[in-house]
Each structure stands twice: as structure tokens, then as C-alpha cells.
Symmetry: D3
Subunit: 137 residues, 6 copies
């Protein structure tokens, strides 16, 4: 088994805000991330798949095809978008934290991968100093 990772980037706006909470509680919990008029990030997503390299091509999976799938499943929907408002697969009222994003991205991506390829890990950098990883369970 050899693991192949493809890195894709997107730029998006978001805020963290629980509708059931007061402004005071939102600010106490989320700090500047609760700014009413949003803020944003350059996100970097590492998509890792796992499989046996093909004896002819030497590919676990064609990295260009993997890139195209990630684009159509994820980055086309989130790049230059508002993660709270604009993305059909992020449910309203769920915080678009990196931890939740990797779970939603996993659900988007797995149905589109070839059957012989397992999605192994998603790693999402929100900044250089904060990132989330998900292994599907």
C-alpha cells in the first residue's frame, strides 16, 4: 500500500456564531472569530488516498484525476465563498470550523473515488498554526 497526497487550496470567508446564544456568549466563546461581518482564510487541504500502485502506470491514483475530483467535489464549492452561507453541503447552523469542514469534505469526496481507492486522511490548514485531520471515523 502506498499513500498518495494531493494538496489543494481555497480562500473563503466564515464566522463562528451559535444562533441560540446571545452576542455576549458568542463573543466570550469565539472571540474575534464571531465578528459579525465575517473574516476569512487561505485554506490548504491535503487529501490522502491509499492503494496499490498500478503495475503499468506506477500510480496509486492519477494525481491529476484526484485533483479534478477534489475540485469538483470540494474546492469549486468553497473557493471564494462564504462557508456559513454559500455551500450546499455545509448545513445551516453548523459551525464551519476546520474540524467540521474535514468531516463534510470526507462525505463529499468518498462517493466519487474509484472503488479500489480508499480515502485515508484529510488534513485542513486554516492558518500556518492551526490544522485539523480526519480519518473517517
Amino acid at each position: 500500500m502506498v499513500y498518495l497526497t494531493r494538496v489543494e487550496k481555497f480562500n473563503a470567508a466564515h464566522k463562528l456564531w451559535v444562533a441560540e446564544w446571545s452576542e455576549e456568549k458568542n463573543t466570550a466563546v469565539f472571540g474575534r472569530c464571531a465578528n459579525a461581518n465575517w473574516h476569512g482564510h487561505n485554506y490548504t487541504l491535503h487529501v490522502t488516498v491509499k492503494g496499490k500502485p498500478d503495475p503499468y502506470t506506477g500510480f496509486t491514483m492519477d494525481a491529476r484525476k484526484l485533483g479534478a475530483i477534489v475540485k469538483s467535489a470540494i474546492t469549486d464549492h468553497v473557493d471564494h465563498r462564504n462557508l456559513n452561507l454559500d455551500v450546499p453541503f455545509i448545513p445551516t447552523g453548523i459551525q464551519p470550523t476546520s474540524e467540521n469542514l474535514v468531516i463534510f469534505f470526507w462525505q463529499q469526496l468518498t462517493p466519487l473515488l474509484p472503488p479500489e481507492i480508499a480515502l485515508y486522511r484529510l488534513k485542513l490548514y486554516e492558518t500556518d498554526s492551526i490544522y485539523a485531520e480526519y480519518f473517517g471515523e
Copy 2:
């Protein structure tokens, strides 16, 4: 003369949109950057000052003091903010492109520097692939 650079980061939302233009024209000119609900970036700002190192301290300028000035003059106002709506020193209707931001940041910063220190260059990364530089004229 020795040049000293301090790097600071901030995360902000923005969009590019000319109010006098139709939606069609805005989209034609700005593409995804015109998304109505905003998008955002992790910005990285390099602030370079120029001076003669002090014979006692060896400092062109104390980098911690420079960091504190950049924070109070710039990043406190733009970090986790909306660059179109939330920042007093960015005039309404002016596009918050990196090119315009470095000009506004220059105006904010110069009055706060010690008289013996010249601001030499501002360099603002909007993404890893796009950055603007300004030398004050």
C-alpha cells in the same frame, strides 16, 4: 544603513465590487472575487524600516516595539475583520485590493514610527502566489 523587517499576520474577509457597476460587469472584471457573501484570506505583512543600528543595542529599531506599533496601527484594526465594512482607515467604496491596502497601511504606520526611523517598504501577501509592495511613492 541596515534594513529591519518584522512580519505580522492577519485574517480578514473582503470582496471586490464597484457599486457604480452592474453585477454583470463586476463579475466580468472581478470573477469569484466579487462573490456577494465575501471570501477571505490569511494575509502576511512584511514591514521594513531603515536606519543606523544603535551602537549600544545593535538595533535598527527594537523589533518588539516595531511589532507593537504594527499591531496598534494596522493588525488590531484588520485582523478578523471585513476589509470593506469594518476598518475606519479604508474608505468606503475603495477596493480593498492588496495594492490599495499597502497604501493605506503606509499612511497608518508612518506617523507612529520614531523620527530617526524611515519606513522603507511594505509587502503584503494575499496568497502564496500574489503579493503587493509599496515604497511610499
Copy 3:
């Protein structure tokens, strides 16, 4: 389970030197790392915790709280310090290699984490080319 990583940095001096060994043996084993007057590094520490994202906040753990704990448990004690002489939780005579540091950092950090959060991995970069990882056993 979603893994959340917070990255923190510190700058420290150290040397590698076994007191029971001759200067010749120390130099033969440690090379330039045995320099009597110390050398130093910009260390980068990746702290990864593991947990279930909170249904309200979407946080495995508040990254700012994690940062504050790492600061009080680790970086406040090692930043701008001498790792052989200045750090109470690094025993005298134990080499402050990256491999040993991640073990000591683990011991410092685990008692301070909330009970529902497991420390998963510490990864310490000593340079861009050398890093150590520890998973607690």
C-alpha cells in the same frame, strides 16, 4: 474523532554533552553539538489533540485555549532559555535532544488538558531537516 493541531514556536540554546565522558568522546559522538559555549535553534512544536467536535462550537478543543495551555506548560519555560540549565522539568544530565524534549513536553502537557481530550502526538522541529515525534508510548 477529529485531530486538532496547534503550532507554537520557541528559541532556545542547548548543547549535547555527557558529563561522564571525556571531551574527546563528547566531540566524537556529538560533533559540533558539543560546542562548550552552546548553540541554539528556532524550535517549532506541533501539538495534536484528539476528540469529538462539540456540537455547538464545532471545536475538538478551543485552539486558543490549547495555545494558552501549551504556553503555560511548555513554551514559557523554554523560550529564550538554555535547555541544559534553565528548565525545571528537564533533569540535569539528560541530553536536551528533540527526542527527549518531546517526552518531557508530553509529561508537562497531559495533566493540563481537559479530561475529554486526549493528547495524540507531539512533533518537534529542531531544524527544517530534523524532527522528532512522540505518541506517548
Copy 4:
């Protein structure tokens, strides 16, 4: 157990081309990677070993020794070389993809490590956006 990683770099030429296939098929499958006159990359290899730090030295393994072994086993043979033509341990007709390279590198490296040290992971960056990982099985 503490994991120690040493990072080494090399620059090499290669192409992806299955001799049994027509030019049309090679181009359809490999795209620009099938360019007849080769292309090339700056590769970055992360070699991770696993062991118990020595009580005297604090080393899982001396990182300089690990670097020397990686150099003699791998990078001396691939740096400034053509991966399809110049490397004895890459069989003719096998595609020098990152996925296959990490398998060949694993075979080169394991016989040269000290018996108490286990090779844990090879991670090979072909570009900033594509990398392969191998754990030996």
C-alpha cells in the same frame, strides 16, 4: 518509542512512458509527464525511523549518521540523475513515480540501518502539491 525524521533533497529528471503503449496512449494517460525529452523535479525525502532514545546520547539514532546512510543508499544515486536511465536500483521499464520510488528507496535503506532501529515511514514530495508515503507494506 520516539520517531526521528531526517529530510534530504535531490534534483532529478524523469518521464512516465510505458514502452508497450503507443505514443497516443502514453500521452492520454500521462499527459505532459510523457514528454519525450524528460522533465524534472526537486524531490524532498522525509526518512522516519523509530526507536528508544539512548539513555546517554538522547538519540533515537544519530541524525548525522542517518543522513549519511540516506546519502549513500539513496541520494548519491538519484541526485542530478535520470530516474529512468541512471539508477541501478530502479528496474528498467518500471515508472519512476513517487509511489514506486518510495518502495525502491525502502528496499535500499532497510539493510543499512542498525538492527535496533526500525524504518517507519518514507515520505517523498515530488512537488509542493503531490507526495507519496510508504510504511513498508
Copy 5:
């Protein structure tokens, strides 16, 4: 005047070899860079233009247009190519060093820029440790 930089990447093979020289002299001068079967690099090109930001768009120049021009003028011709053999605008027998590449790239790029925009600087990274810069004279 505000300077705008767009970063583009390409992967290419090359070798350094003076046809009039013996193999011995080529190897003595160029070392491993003279390897007969080529080697290669991931090149990173920073293209900096200079101009006055447009009062409506806030752009020195639309970074997407600049990227498209760099692609059609340069990277389409050198990406996944052999710099000694495959590139019409690199004369046969001229060494494809980074120093020469930035001069050829400059000649390719300047005729395609809008008249109000001046090309200010090309900066080409051959590796993380070696780069060339050219200002047009």
C-alpha cells in the same frame, strides 16, 4: 507606484554542457549538473510589475490576467519540457542556467504586457537555496 507580484511554477529537465568543451572540462566546471542524461527542477518564478492602481478596480494589473500572460509567454513553453532541447525561445548552445532563463523570460514577457505596465523584476528559484533576479538591464 505599487508593485504586484504573481508567482508561477513549472517543472523542467536540463543539463549544463558546453559543446565545444571536452567531457572532462564540462564535468570539472559543472559537476553533477553536466550529467549526460539530464536532471531537473521544480522552478518557481516571481513576476513583478509596477504601476499605479486603477481608481475603480484597485488593481495595478489584474493578477489573473498577469497569470494568463505568464502562462502563454513562459510556463506553457517550459513546463514539463527539456530546457536544452524543447523551448523555441532558448537558443541552442546557450546554457539554461537560472541567470540566462530570467533574461529569456524577460524578452518573452515584455511585449505582452499592457503599455501602462512596466515589468520590474523576474526572480527565479531553481531550488530553495539558489535563485536569480533580473531587472531588465
Copy 6:
């Protein structure tokens, strides 16, 4: 004229401390940088020379030769050393700040460069967030 840059790294200990000042004043001015038992950094030095590429080699200057000169003139003397105590060309009592280091490095380097090559710029990163540049005057 084409500018060529070679990047070299070194790891060193230092502290900032003016002997004529009290401990209180040193701590007030230098903060944690005055720690009695030193601290340290991974320094990254960018050495930029300027010249006309040779018509045969295409080199402004052979980057390997430049690297060798930087090593013998600078990094051999400062790598794994204490910048306050161990380096002959840093005068006692002068603070080893990045600003002063680039001046001393300039003096070391210029006599060793070939006559047709001008040293253009030294850029020294002390951390990812602080760097000094010197152009020789």
C-alpha cells in the same frame, strides 16, 4: 546584470547584554533576549551577488563556489557557535543582533569574492518573522 542568491543556514547561541548596564536596564531593554544563560536561533542567510552571466557557463558566479566561500568566510565560524564568545570577527561587547551580523558578514565576504563580482545584498533571517538586510552602506 543578473543577481544570483545563495542561501546558507547556521544554528547559533547568543544573548543581548550591554556590559556597562545594570541587569535591570538590560532586561528592560532586551527582555528575554538578555537571558543570562543564552538562547539561540536557526539563522538563514541569503547572499546576493551581481554580475554579467558568463557567455560559456551562463553563470553570474558558480553557485557552488559562492557556497564554498560563504562557508569558509562565515558559516564555518558561526555554525554551532556562541555569537558573543566564539567568533573572532565579532568584536567583544558588540551586540550580535541580526543588524550587526550582516555588517560583519559583509566585511568577511567581500575580500573573498572574485573581482568581477559585486556583493549586492545580505539578508539574514533570525526567525521567520524578523530579518535584517544590508547593501554595504
